[in-house]
Amino acid sequence: MTRAPPSSVAIPGTTIPGMAPARPTGNGDITGFQRATALWQGLRGSAPERGARLALMAALLAAAPAFAAGAAPPHQAWSFAGPTGHYDPATLQHGFRIYADVCAGCHSLNELHFENLAGIGLSAADIRRIAATHTIPDGTDAAGQPKTRSARPDDAIPDPFPSPAAAAQALGGVPPDLSHITMTHRGGPDWIAAFLTGFVPPPPGVTVPPGRFYNRFLRTGVTAMPPVVASADDARAVTTFLQWSADPHLNARHRLGYAGLAYFAFLAALASALKRRIWKQPRR
């Protein structure tokens, strides 16, 4: 089993001095596992160290009930919900623009290639143009020096940082990949949309460290992500785009589903008529 080596990587809002930071969870919250790891690590080391750590641990654990009080995201009506669910290309493209302008500065979208953007209704020319604005590594030249080139439609959308460590250095934490975030984060699209517009002044008594922001939909309350999405409308559009990223074949799946049900209903009706006719025949 490999363990993450101690580094300067810290989870937004959970930096505990003198402790090996736990691994980022990808959703900005402390998990029970991390809390248990932190407790275990707090119990090791020399006596003064242990005392300091235990004091910090106690503070962290005492604050836990307040952390757990992250507001439940309000339920929203989504175009992609239910058996008639579908994506609207205009919303997807609106969402993609916000992703490209804002989210892509810090977050990766590892599983998508530029050509996949045909799924939100972009033309081949648009996709070529968007890909060409990105520069990606292209092996090494004869002298062994790294080369770069502009991206093509069949390239994966490049990460904003050369490595997770570089992202942590720049941002104080590794922003989660967004490819499947609406399906892997608890609360799903409702939570993502609520979080994007959930930045409020901290309640009295809560101090937010510099470079951190208070968001009422986080269990910890604090995140390294600044408020970047301007309106509820933009939040809904980018959430719809991210839902498309996680489940890109919804439109085709539902279309095929209705066609398939009609086909099998017709086949069942024919087979039932055939069966009845055959069983009426005088038997051998």
Partner: protein
């Protein structure tokens, strides 16, 4: 032309006449009900699984570092790859669902009784193989649920007395769940899938030698009580298959949450335990048992017993009457057993929280109780 060719083959290897004898003229009891459709549904599901599975294997890479990305290539890059994978995932649900109903049919109507013990044993071997195949298949995408589901199972396996450590070493091939394990499970997934095909051939041969059971559990007394397989049962199976196709389409298109796990869309991370580890729905009753029994090893034994006990039915049940239609007490037992199995699954899904803890324990008692009570059932009802 075709006739001449078929005749030429048949005089050298009589497969054509055998096919006509076994699948066209074969005498079937006239009174079979809808429960007898599941054999055909299972055969078609199996063919679908082989066709989609072989196609997926063209792109899938059994490597801990590349497996997740190769699944994403199938989902996003390969034309219609997502559809083939969705059909494979839905096919697993359809196969396991049809298999459970097929087995219940066999228990309820006493299809396991002499002279059909081998039909029954090959069927139970098929269930065991299907479960291993399904588990291995669930691990292959190497998502969070793949990794942690495998962690639960291999952990329980390592806890087995005597053979545990050796078995664990054989399956893991390493100190942790990694590359070697994933590659081994890929091979297991293939090997058991084709073993299923072989067992099905023997299973069908056993059915055809012993003749099919019927809902009354008494063999047809005269040719007047039978009809040829074709066209009577080919037509009936076609109707059943059309309905199964409808269920398959509805699941795949409108309830993909049942056939696939959203949490598995996060790549496997050995350092982060998910909050909630739940297996595929068809393993839930066994997952419930693992949670109810306080010891890991005993839990595994209970899960094994839950499959082995129905396999022993030909020897546990000594009544000469086959069908539950004519055994009121046995009928209640069978309904209790089925209800217990389903309730165990629901309790497992709810992690035995609240009333599910009590319901699950009662369900486990009901399920095992039926198999304990069966040998004491009256042998000759009045």
């Amino acid at each position: 032309m075709t006739r001449g060719l078929l005749h030429w083959i048949d005089t050298r290897l009589p497969v054509v006449s055998a096919a006509r004898r076994e699948f066209r003229d074969y005498p079937m009891p006239v009174n079979l009900n809808g429960f007898w459709n599941f054999g055909a549904i299972l055969t078609l599901s199996l063919l679908l699984m082989l066709a989609t599975g072989l196609t997926l294997a063209l792109t899938y890479v059994p490597n801990a570092g590349l497996a997740f990305a190769s699944i994403q290539t199938i989902e996003r890059g390969v034309p219609a790859g997502w559809l083939i994978r969705l059909a494979h995932q839905t096919g697993a649900t359809l196969f396991m669902g049809a298999l459970y109903l097929h087995i219940f049919r066999g228990l309820y109507y006493g299809s396991y009784k002499a002279p059909r013990e081998l039909v029954w044993l090959t069927g139970m071997a098929l269930l065991a193989c299907a479960m291993v195949t399904a588990f291995a298949g669930y691990v292959l995408p190497w998502g969070q649920m793949s990794h942690w589901g495998a962690d639960v199972i291999t952990g329980a396996m390592a806890g087995l007395p005597v053979v545990g450590p050796t078995l664990s070493h054989l399956v893991l091939g390493d100190t942790h769940l990694g590359d070697v394990f994933l590659h081994r499970l890929f091979v297991v997934h293939f090997a058991t899938a084709f073993a299923i095909v072989g067992i099905v051939v023997v299973h069908v041969a056993c059915v055809h030698v012993a003749a099919p059971n019927d809902p009354d559990g008494r063999d047809p007394r005269s040719p007047r009580e039978t009809v040829p397989f074709h066209p009577y049962f080919t037509a009936k199976d076609l109707f059943g298959l059309a309905l199964a196709g409808g269920v398959f389409t509805a699941l795949a298109a409108f309830a993909p949450g049942i056939v696939r796990e959203a949490a598995n869309l996060a790549p496997a991370n050995p350092l982060r335990t998910p909050n909630d580890i739940v297996p595929a729905w068809y393993f839930l009753p066994f997952y419930g048992l693992l949670q109810i029994v306080p010891s890991k090893t005993l839990g595994l034994f209970a899960s094994l017993a839950a499959i082995v006990l129905p396999g022993l039915m030909p020897w546990l049940d000594r009544s000469p009457i086959r069908s539950a239609r004519h055994r009121p007490g046995f009928r209640i037992g069978m309904i209790l057993m089925a209800a217990g199995f389903v309730t165990l699954g629901l309790a497992g899904a709810h992690h035995l929280q609240g009333l599910w803890g009590i319901a699950g324990r009662i369900a486990a008692l009901a399920y095992f109780g039926v198999f304990v009570a069966v040998p004491f059932a009256r042998r000759h009802p009045s």
